[in-house]
């Protein structure tokens, strides 16, 4: 299973973290510090796997972002690379040629998309189309709720309550 997912920028800034195994807040910072030290220093034409604390970390760089996933020793590395690519493609489709800024300002959306892709450290949806549809449906749910809340009449109703 996937133990955690990290998105780290080339400068070492953390853009997204998702933990499927229990790590305390302290451990999390330590893990990130350790891994960004290992991964960011690796050259561009090297293989995408790093052995780390008895686990394997599969990472891939897209533009200025490193997508890292930590897996068990006997998990399939190539499969994880495909999952990462999958995730990137979905992000790309959702944001329209995604860039780091999109993820910075919509960090929660990146999470929601990841949540549709993975659950409990396992891939749950391998179809890009389905994920896109699901996310759109949930967005519209949120939007309608928001519209209701921000409509003038609502504000007035609230103010005069």
């Amino acid at each position: 299973m996937i133990h955690f997912v990290l998105l780290i920028s080339r400068q070492g800034k953390v853009r997204l973290t998702k933990w499927y195994s229990p790590y305390s807040q302290k451990e999390r910072t330590k893990v990130i510090r350790e891994l960004s030290g290992v991964i960011l220093t690796r050259g561009p034409k090297l293989c995408n796997f790093v052995e780390w604390r008895g686990f394997k970390v599969v990472y891939k760089r897209y533009a200025s972002l490193y997508f890292c996933m930590c897996i068990d020793q006997d998990d399939n590395e190539l499969e994880i690379l495909e999952i990462i690519h999958h995730y990137v493609e979905i992000l790309d489709r959702y944001f329209g040629s995604v860039c780091e800024l999109d993820l910075i300002f919509n960090f929660h959306k990146a999470y929601y998309i990841l949540d549709e892709l993975l659950i409990a450290g396992e891939l749950q949806e391998s179809s890009k189309k389905t994920v896109a549809r699901l996310i759109a449906a949930q967005d519209s749910l949120v939007e309608t709720a928001k519209e209701q809340a921000s409509s003038i009449s609502n504000i007035i109703a609230q103010a005069t309550k």
Partner: protein
């Protein structure tokens, strides 16, 4: 009340504001964050849910990316969770899954929220709460929500169902009893046609099977079906993983899956699936030769690929194969060697491992040559990686693969000269270890040591100090093999030795002491023999001659073939003139004089020892030229006696001693240990045990005692035997490390205690013999083609040959697998070791899923009567609970019956055959340890 709320919501900083603000802070980011946190703390207490939720969202941003504690907001998160709005719920769930853990106090309050959302009609709300549950589930939550999960696992909304299936894994982990409720439904989902659900179920089983594969053997037929039918690579990879775990447990299963896996291997275009197939074959199906050949045939595809990922994985596969099929590695030798110079350190290390796996006694020389050359060229880190693996491979099993030790010792010397070498400690240990174990190599060892010692440049390299330490010890201990002891002396006393740390310097001084004694003694012998030829009555010369004879005898007895060489060596430094001796003594005084005031106790004491010895003997040699032989009485005799004694003390062969030897020594009659060793205990109480990879010189106070004691004795020139034993004891104390565990081939009488255990032929000896016998039977006889026979390597008992404890497979009998077994094997067969002769028992619990396809129905009916298994009754109970399930069940039943009928007609004769087959197999099964799946299940 409403006023501030409205104002707040209009002027609240949104998440975007926060992020923008944060990005503008080039410095003082921390201050900005703490200000934002301050705001959040205020806002989160607001009664307005949208303000609260925005605050929560900001907080989770800070928590997940800036790692700020958000535990203060756990209760507020629950408040937001109770909002009817989807957007609030989403934020709340996100925050909760981010911050809750098993010991969060408000965890108890979330159960009802989760339950409400799990039963919601909005599938997205259900999925939110499932996702959250997968993250925060603890025992209580898992227990309380099991019924809801159970219901959702058969929901007709696939979106919800697959999530429920995935979550079940966490629920099982936390609350194993839920297996009894949900397992059946999980298994049913294996038959689902939807690829997403199938992938979720297989994912769950894959994780479960990793923990305890044995429990899932009965499900093999289902997995097999998926393996054959599925076209989905995600699913296939997981199924392969499951089989990789199951196949080693059940040979018949392995036989069945080999073909389909090979088919996939031939057919698939996806590298990930191909890799998984190859890995499954080499890890779990390595007995099937054709499959392994096919798999290994695919490996070059990976190795020659441009993609470094594939190269890396190819090498990894090879290193798995190498354990059983070394030919696979030699087949790809070129690619492997080429990867040694890859740009990627990970690939380099993998290929290094493989190269080392290829090493055998025939090619160790060539491979080491290649690697050392490679190490010279590569970066420091990888260089040491190479050196480390050469050292560990060659020293494996007491230098099993080394035939030519002369070569190996010179290789060690060469390795220590490699600029980046940081392996000094390991090389040191091996040099000393080999010196003690292999007698025939000592000549070469001394030569190598001399080359190292004599090079002043090496003294400046911090990493080489340990190697030099070993070299100095070896040249001191085996000085009799030295061609030119005087030169050695110069090397040991050269001024640059001040660069050494005191502990190693002390060893240098001690070695110089030994060399000095040897030189003086040799000189005396020469003189004695010339003298004795003229006047045969002279006492000291006779003594020295007899001693020398004895030592030659010893040598020739011990060294056998090598005796002549040794003899020659000893005779080489024959021409030590009186002048050179005097020079030598002067040099010693010059070099060690300043050290008398050293701050290091160890160095100081040893320097004093040597100087004291020089004081005592110098006079004799100074006078010698003047007085000639006339003054062989008086002082001269005294001095030569001292030299004689010292030489005796140093030239004793020091056999290795087993760490456990002392415990095996039985008390000789009349020896009262306490009386003799009582003082020792007091002295030694604070000495640490010599560890194998570090020198321990004992505490300074102890050393002082020992040294002063021996000094005293030298001065008083008291009884000879006392003195030599005390010196010996001192030496032994100092070089505890070098007194390597026990000499079994050493038949010298140096140390009765060390030899006692052998003489008594107790368990230890037997163990050694046993190990040897098994070794001989396992290892094919060495080829006699070697030009030189392999020298004797002194091996010790259990210290060297640790019995490799076979890791037995132990099924973890934790509650989860227990529960699973309970379900799968039926309550009667919970204990897997019971013989599985009764096939009906085995399949009883799984009947539902499988029997309609595989087993004839009459068996089923009979079974249900006989074995009122837990699961089936439970199932019935649950069926009466759930509404939709009740609707479904009759339909299912009829389908089942129909199928059963068909099956009956088709397979009535088949079943009969099984029965007879089963009977024939019974004796086999009785002896089988594990639950066996009957063939027909496949």
């Amino acid at each position: 009340m409403s006023g501030p709320s409205l104002m707040d919501s209009l002027f609240q900083r949104s998440l975007e504001d926060l992020i923008k603000g944060l990005r503008q802070q080039l410095i003082g980011e921390q201050a900005f964050i703490s200000k934002a946190l301050e705001e959040i703390r205020k806002e989160i207490k607001s009664t307005d849910l949208s303000i609260k939720s925005t605050a929560l969202l900001k907080l989770s941003y800070l928590s997940s990316l800036h790692f700020h504690d958000m535990s203060f907001a756990t209760f507020h998160a629950l408040e937001v969770l109770s909002s009817p709005r989807f957007s609030h719920k989403k934020i709340a769930y996100h925050a909760i899954s981010l911050s809750f853990h098993d010991s969060t106090p408000v965890l108890l309050l979330i159960t009802n929220h989760l339950r409400k959302d799990l039963t919601s009609t909005n599938e997205f709300e259900v999925s939110l709460s499932l996702r959250c549950l997968s993250k925060i589930a603890n025992v209580d939550l898992a227990r309380d929500l099991t019924p809801e999960i159970f219901t959702l696992m058969s929901s007709n909304k696939l979106y919800v169902r697959k999530k429920a299936v995935a979550v079940v894994l966490r629920v099982f982990e936390k609350y194993p009893d839920s297996v009894r409720v949900c397992f059946k439904r999980l298994v049913e989902n294996l038959d689902n046609s939807d690829p997403q659900i199938l992938s979720a179920v297989i994912g769950v089983f894959c994780e479960l099977a990793c923990k305890d594969p044995r429990s899932y053997l009965p499900l093999a037929p289902e997995f097999y079906k998926i393996l054959v039918d599925s076209k989905n690579n995600w699913v296939l990879i997981k199924v392969l993983k499951i089989f990789a775990k199951l196949a080693p447990l059940e040979p018949r299963l392995a036989k069945r899956v080999v073909e389909p896996i090979c088919d996939h291997m031939r057919r698939t275009g996806a590298k990930s699936l191909l890799f998984e197939c190859v890995r499954t074959v080499v890890t779990s199906l390595s007995e099937y030769d054709s499959a392994v050949r096919l798999a290994v045939g695919k490996v070059p595809e990976f190795l020659v690929d441009e993609d470094p990922n594939l190269k890396y994985l190819g090498l990894q596969v090879l290193s798995i194969v190498a354990q059983k099929h070394l030919w696979a590695v030699s087949q790809n030798k070129e690619a492997v060697i080429k990867s040694l110079s890859d740009a990627d350190p990970n690939i380099k290390i993998e290929s290094l491992r493989l190269v080392m796996a290829m090493v055998s006694e025939c090619n160790v020389t060539e491979i080491s040559r290649v690697l050392v050359n490679h190490a010279l060229k590569s970066d420091p880190e990888f260089c040491n990686e190479i050196l480390g693996s050469i050292l560990s491979t060659c020293s494996r099993n007491v230098y099993e693969i080394i035939v030519d030790f002369d070569w190996y010792v010179s290789l060690l010397g060469e390795m220590s000269r490699i600029p980046h070498c940081h392996k000094g400690e390991e090389i040191e240990n091996q040099l000393i270890d080999i010196g003690i174990r292999v007698k025939d190599v000592r000549l070469e060892l001394v030569r190598v040591s001399r080359d190292l010692l004599i090079d002043p440049a090496l003294l400046g390299n911090f990493f080489l100090h340990r190697v030099l330490c070993a070299a100095s010890w070896a040249s001191g201990e085996y000085v009799k093999f030295s061609r030119n002891p005087l030169e050695l002396m110069e090397a040991l006393l050269q001024p640059r030795t001040r660069l050494l740390p005191p502990s190693i310097r002390a060893i240098y001084i001690q070695s110089a002491f030994k060399v000095l004694v040897f030189c003086l003694h040799t000189y005396l012998m020469q003189r004695g023999s010339t003298f004795s030829s003229t006047s045969p009555d002279n006492l000291p010369s006779v003594v020295s001659a007899s001693v020398s004879d004895e030592s030659f005898d010893n040598l020739s007895v011990e060294n056998g073939v090598d005796a002549t060489v040794t003899h020659g060596q000893i005779c080489t430094p024959a021409f030590i003139t009186n002048e050179s001796i005097v020079n030598l003594l002067n040099m010693v005084e010059l070099a060690l004089g300043p050290l008398v005031g050293s701050h290091d106790v160890e160095v100081q004491e040893r320097a004093r020892n040597v100087l004291g010895f020089v004081d005592l003997t110098k006079l004799k040699f100074l006078n010698y030229s003047v007085q000639e032989e006339n003054d062989s009485e008086g002082k001269g005799v005294e001095a030569s006696n001292i030299i004689e004694l010292m030489h005796d003390a140093f030239s004793k062969e020091l056999g290795p001693i087993s760490l456990s030897a002392q415990g095996n020594v039985s008390l000789p009659d009349g020896l009262i240990v306490k009386e003799n060793l009582g003082d020792l205990e007091m002295i030694c109480c604070d000495i640490e045990l010599p560890s194998s990879n570090s020198f321990s010189f004992g505490s300074p106070c102890e050393e002082k005692d020992g040294v002063s004691f021996s000094n005293l004795q030298i001065k008083e020139d008291s009884e000879q035997s006392n003195e030599s034993t005390s010196l010996l004891a001192e030496h032994r104390k100092r070089h505890g490390l070098y007194y390597l565990p026990l000499g079994k081939s050493e038949i010298s009488n140096d140390y009765p205690p060390a030899n006692d255990p052998i003489l008594q032929g107790n368990i230890n000896g037997n163990a050694v013999d046993l190990v040897k016998i098994t070794e001989e039977s396992l290892v094919p006889k060495r080829k006699p083609s070697h030009a030189k026979p392999r020298p004797v390597v002194v091996k010790l008992d259990e210290v060297d040959e640790k019995p490799v404890a076979l890791k037995k497979f132990e099924s973890k009998d934790d509650s989860l697998s227990g529960a699973v077994r309970d379900i799968l094997f039926g309550s009667e067969d919970m204990v897997p070791t019971s013989s599985q002769s009764n096939l009906s028992d085995k399949s009883s619990s799984k009947r539902k899923g499988k029997e309609k396809q595989h087993t004839a129905p009459h068996v089923e009916s009979k079974e249900n009567l006989v074995d009122d298994g837990n699961p089936s009754s439970r199932r019935r109970k649950y069926r009466s609970h759930g509404k939709e399930r009740r609707h479904r069940s009759p339909r299912k039943k009829t389908a089942e019956e129909r199928e059963g009928q068909k099956e009956k007609e088709k397979s009535s004769h088949r079943h009969g055959r099984h029965k007879s087959g089963q009977r024939a197999e019974e004796p086999l099964n009785v002896s089988a340890q594990a639950p066996v799946i009957p063939d027909f299940l496949l």
